[in-house]
Amino acid sequence: MTHTDSGVAHQAIAPRLPILDLHDVRKRFGGTVALNGVTLSVAPGEVHGLIGENGAGKSTLIKVLCGIVKPDSGAISLAGEAYEPHTPREAKARGLQVVHQEFNLLPFLSVAENIFIEHLPRNLFGVVRRNDMNARARAALDAIGLKDIDVRWPVERLGIAHRQLVEVARALMTDSRVLILDEPTATLTSRETDRLFAIINDLRSRGVSVIFVSHHLDEIFRICDRVTVLRNGETVFSRRIGETSHDELVRGMVGQQLQREMASGAISSAGEGTALSLVNFRHAQSPHAEGISLDLHKGEILGIAGLVGSGRTELLRAIFAAEQPLSGTLLRDGKPATFRSPREAIQAGIGFVTEDRKEEGLILAMPIAANVTLASLSSISRVGLLDRKMENTMTQQFGADLKLKYGGPSRHAATLSGGNQQKVVLAKWLARNPQILLLDEPTRGVDVGAKAEIYALIRRLAEKGLALLVVSSELPELMTLCDRIMVMSQHRIVGEVARADFSEEKILTYAYHGERRQTGH
């Protein structure tokens, strides 16, 4: 490396010649500075963590690397040669593979076709060798532990976590020199995450470099050799993993010491009557006639844990009447209620933060303000006329509350970073002032700082008497937040753990228990 540091503290010089080297890369989108001098080098066979707050520029950096976004300035070299990809095709040809943060799947094509979309196996005449493809896709899925889905299914039928794994499988199909994973674990439970790490380890041993983006610092410590911290589009520092600490990384990301919000387990005052109870509540996808029964008290935070595909999302959707329940009773404040549409659920004071923000949560091509107010239009309008001033005030207020990093209320939601988009979805429901809030993976893609804020917010809401039902694939999250955790497996509630008894081991035992019973392992 010939360049001099611009105030960036490089710790150790990489042992070998770096495979990928970025120097002072910059990118602006109109008035937003997304990258403001990123310097980074990745050694061959190294797993390099990339961390930073929401909107720090991680995804933009990755888009630069794979030829989607053209940087304004800066130098990039790949294996010692200058590297300026203009198209994703070019990037792939040079040996870069990416799993993007937002999904890029073909919903009506089969899982196998999605996995092989880059190079569909063909014979001389361009005919797809379907058997071969399906078999190899099967093997690829088995390798990452996705045994329970058929490779001939259309991707449309998969849940969000499975989709993420399919994307990972796709990226692994081609041999690459550098594999970039943008928040692959955001939708995974610990079991899938473990498998993914095993794969990463294997790649490392074969000399492939991996850039790994995550908001989970424990994952960074588990898998990475080195880590680079971005803040406001700038490299703060790069360190060997052994030479840094959790606190130092957090300080690097947010620029100050964060209060350990996670630890404070202030328990909300549960138990002033049930806000919602389900009795033998069953939806169309559930294989069990007895359905699901549970009680959610006012002011309570009830967590639902479970492995991917255990039916948590579908339960929430059925409660919200996004899908019609089949049978069973739903009691709202003790009174039986039937919702025929989300509209009626909302009128009964229920809000639903969906897990797939792109498909169900946001209108990406519309302004942030329009998204924030989407569920509470009546409160920003008079006789059907929109009050833009009120709308903007409301947006700015929630923007401030949730520490949203955004250009302005009138910018499109699509211009936000992934984590900030998630905050907009939250704001949409908070603006509605619900009495019951269903949260499906509420902090998916949210950075540590913001996560703490969201936790605090959820707790404040509970203190105000809201009943919260939280589905999350992160056990620490549930254990920090919840008063009670129910564990689902195979569409059943297989166990319940009270706060006093919280332990990962206990919850996982329940979660795998159902699994074992089913598959006979």
């Binding site: 109109g30 996004a322 509209r343 909302i346 169900e360 302004p367 989407l374 239009l377 006329l385 302005g408």
Partner: protein
Amino acid sequence: MMQALDKTTLNAPTEATVSGMSMKLLLRDAGIGIALLLLIVFFSLSTEHFLTSNNISNILTQITINLILAIGMTFVILIGGIDLSVGSMLAFCAVVAGTVLTIPELSVFQAVGLATLAAIGTGVVCGFLNGWISAFWGLPSFIVTLGMLNIARGAALQVTDARTIYSFPPSFNAFGSQMVVGVPVVFLIALVLVAVAWFVLSKTVFGRLLYGIGNNEEAVRLAGHSLMFYKVAAFTIAGALVGIAAMIYMARLNIASPIIGIGFELNAIAAVIIGGTSLNGGRGTVVGTLLGACIIGVLANGLILFGLSDFMRQMITGVVIILAVIIDKYRERITAS
């Protein structure tokens, strides 16, 4: 529209940018405006009569029907639908209204009033059916309105037995060619409709949700809004506007025939899309539609004045339509960078 806002407003999301916003608003529609301007300049220089006040008012009259249909079409396309039945519905509304208009027992005043109600009512019923059938059954509106295209045309022919209705009250016909300071009254009506549509689409909750549905139906549904209502409403509005267009058609041509309006749907859709509205829904403005309709009208008029043979004229029309949207793309690329 909200989507019009450009990147530069980014760091000043305060009230002070309102005038900046309208500038951007203008700029957004300017691409197609530039194409229109080029056309106007070209025809002004190359033909003798193009810029005479007489010809301008001709053009405005000639644009009117298509513009009114295109306003309704904008609503439908914004929610991601399409309405192929407007031409047939125009004929059906016209013959129903024409029948009322020629009832001898009625005074002119009554006849015109009832006929207007009949025209709009017919349009509303057909539009409602279009919207309801597609929303309730979840069918593509392309097919449903293709069905309605046949149904309305058949009905128009059936009720009149393929005969033309004529002999409308003279004062009604006079209205069709009335001018106010050189501008045809019928065009002014269309302009008022543009203004109302613009207001509804950009200033009301209703309009906001139409855009939302065009962008992401599921998100709007999960936010507790009834998709059915808004979809049906968009098609019904389109139907009502067809009814108004039918009255104006009758006032202009003095007849109501069951075979009018064939192919009008393509012209209306073309105006909407040339005007920058996305066929996938969720994006576009009614001001763009106005400009799109102007382009089509100016082109048709100017090429005749230019003296091209009919066949050449048809070819050139095709080329210019494509060029107009290419110019719009150029503008987009330039303002984006």
